[in-house]
Amino acid sequence: MSQRGGRAMRLNGLVRKEFLQIVRDPSSIAIAFLMPIFLLILFGYGVSLDADHVPLALVAEAPSQDSADFMAALSGSHYFAPRVMQSMAEAEQALRLGEVRGIVRLRADFSRRMRQADGAPVQVVVDGVDANTARLVEGYVEGAWGNWLAAKAARSGQALNTPVELQSRIWFNSELRSRNYLVPGLVAIIMTLIGALLTALVMAREWERGTMEALMVTPASMTEVLLGKLVAYFVLGTGGMLLTVGLSVWLFEVPLRGSFWVLWACSSLFLLAALGMGLTISTLARSQFVAGQIAIIATFLPAFLLSGFIFDIGSMPPMVQVITHVIVARYFVAIVQTLFLAGDVWSVILPNAAALALMATIFLTITWKKSRKRLE
């Protein structure tokens, strides 16, 4: 038989073997298909940075037409679930207990000072523990205040005195739905987990079950064994990837502005890198226990916190920014967020895709170098 014919036959046999094993072992199917659905629904519904109906204490120390007017502006906003309180002491207690996230206080002299030159002060206290939500609450209160001012000015027929008026235009995600940026990032996180978990155990499993020794004495080379696994899990991972992208677009209604084929190509590169990482772990560990432990430590938390999925990499200290370069998910997060929301922006996609290709090459080379046909 020709050299090439033999190789094709061996590879064919190895790939078929991997597929049969996948089909017979429900846990790989579960990792590839059930886990993405589970995580995506969990993340997709569970994770949102948009505050809505924030409980807010309203304290008007001397109720009047003016104060009622101001409070109405706050109550009208869907951002708040206002609770009217009688005294500042009561409101402060509620804030301390976490029952409200902020207090808006109109002092007894509100109506009187409104008519003075420097205007009446409105005291706003927010719970600063969750700084992000606190800032959002501040922003919402400011928005309601602005509306109130504008409405008041319109009623009195007086032009409102605003020297500079901010007109903001938000590109790509005009309603600022946090889901629109979280869900594409999730695709990257979930694929990291799948890629690594699928392959982290497979090489170690062959060692532990003794099948590796039997494979080694056949003419199949280590490259062919690795290639067989890579092909099979690549196909499986692509299935999981399509499922996550499909759910993102149809269930979570995230717009996909870029080309699907570019997404496909980039995901394939990313999948190669993630699978390569799993294979590297598996090859180096040789025991399922250690491999699994490393996989957990090295994948989830770093991908969650350091990929730019939630926390902006640009805001991290330079040292930490350097560290993020070894996180595979980082590059894919940048690509998917752009592809979904902005479109085919080549100057973002190409460098990141190149980085992915480099990572994939590094991981696969390590795996290949480390898996020799020897038992030592």
């Binding site: 949102s48 505050a51 409104m114 409105v122 927010v126 020297p163 430590i297 929301l341 100057s347």
Partner: protein, 370 residues
């Protein structure tokens, strides 16, 4: 006699866990590194937001306004544009997050007492960053307006907002996240210690050996619980020291409340880990179980995204997440200086979760078929 047996069990568990230098490494080194890296990484505060200026006006007023941006530490100008066409390429590739566009009639409008529009284009791909950036811009513009009005003797608005943030006056989000990381890493370590112990003994056959000795399931359970506790307490203490001494997060509340919370949290974490372990026949299953518990527990704990923002159904699910309660305790103790009175509502659910899971795990020791 019974005490003797239990002591022997505890000793054995510690040896099994710590004798191997690799296990010692895994338990100690990654959590430390992760605390440092994540502590720096986890922040919503924006620093040096890159922006570009497209000034069509060039008048005095516009220069004053832009100077206000240039002087703010949150912003960093990276480009000066000459035409509208230059905007899109910069934003698309994320060179800049926002573009400040001053129209040609800006200074003239202002001088004439008319309202001058200031256009800001912002990259909304990361909606949270965009929102925060926009807030920063607004506060710079507000400051400019106040200055302008007082300089030109204009009538101000009838009411003005005086904002104040309690507990975290500068709204540093790091203060918010670092206590969260303390809880998260404690959970991860607890899982690493407990989730595989029973499964490992089952695979090696030593679990049968234990069950045929006079040891009662309760005693075996106790023996397996202690290392998780001790390692968890030590780990959390070290992390606590790093958080306060290195990251300078204020610790205002009572240490006693912190430790009571920690012990109950460990009880529930160890319980969940042992339950997973008792349910699994192999280490692989234990690992997958640990993972399927850990990821949702972190996501739904309110670590990065407030529980209040979640849909009602998901909020119910969070009720069985021990990390949720511990995070509240951590944040209240660290930042609000809370004592026991405020925390009672967080303590009993963890105790309940811990008790239920431990009882189930103990029952499964003897009754799980495999």
């Amino acid at each position: 006699m019974m005490l003797q047996r239990i002591l022997a069990l505890v000793r054995k568990e510690f040896l099994a866990l710590l004798k191997d230098p690799r296990s010692r490494m895994v338990l100690i080194v990654p959590p430390m590194i992760q605390l440092l890296v994540f502590g720096y990484a986890a922040t919503f505060d924006l620093k040096e937001v890159p922006y570009a200026v497209y000034n069509e006006d060039g008048g005095r007023a516009s220069r004053d306004l832009l100077a206000a941006f240039a002087g703010a530490p949150a912003f960093k100008q990276v480009a000066e544009l000459r035409s509208e066409d230059e905007i899109a390429p910069l934003v698309d590739v994320r060179k800049v997050m926002l573009v400040i566009h001053v129209g040609p009639r800006f200074s003239a409008d202002l001088q004439a007492g008319r309202t001058a529009p200031l256009q800001v284009i912002i990259d909304g791909r990361n909606s949270n960053t965009a929102m925060i950036g926009l807030n920063y811009v607004r506060s710079v513009v507000d400051g400019f307006n106040d200055d302008w009005m007082s300089a030109h003797g204009l009538q101000g608005p009838p009411a003005r907002l005086q904002m104040r943030a309690w507990f975290n006056p500068n709204l540093e989000s790091r203060w918010f996240f670092i206590p969260g990381i303390v809880g998260m890493l404690t959970l991860v370590v607890t899982m690493l210690v407990t989730a595989l112990t029973v499964a490992r003994e089952r695979e090696q056959g030593t679990f049968d050996q234990l069950l045929v000795t006079p040891l009662r399931p309760g005693e075996i359970l106790f023996g397996k619980t202690v290392p998780g506790f001790v390692i968890g307490v030590i780990q959390a203490t070290v992390i606590l020291l790093v958080a306060t001494l290195w990251f300078k997060v204020p610790l205002l509340g009572s240490l006693a409340a912190f430790y009571v919370g920690l012990v109950l949290f460990l009880l529930s974490g160890v319980g969940a880990g042992l339950l997973i372990s008792a349910l699994s026949a192999t280490q692989q299953q234990g690992l997958l179980g640990a993972f399927l518990f850990m990821v949702p527990a972190v996501i739904l704990s309110g670590f990065a995204t407030p529980i209040a923002n979640m849909p009602k159904v998901v909020q119910w699910v969070t009720l069985i997440d021990p990390l949720r309660y511990f995070l509240v305790i951590l944040r209240k103790v660290f930042l609000e200086g809370a004592g026991f009175d405020v925390l009672l509502g967080q303590l009993w659910p963890m105790a309940l979760i811990g008790a239920v899971s431990l009882i189930l795990a103990g029952w499964l020791f003897r009754h799980r078929m495999y």
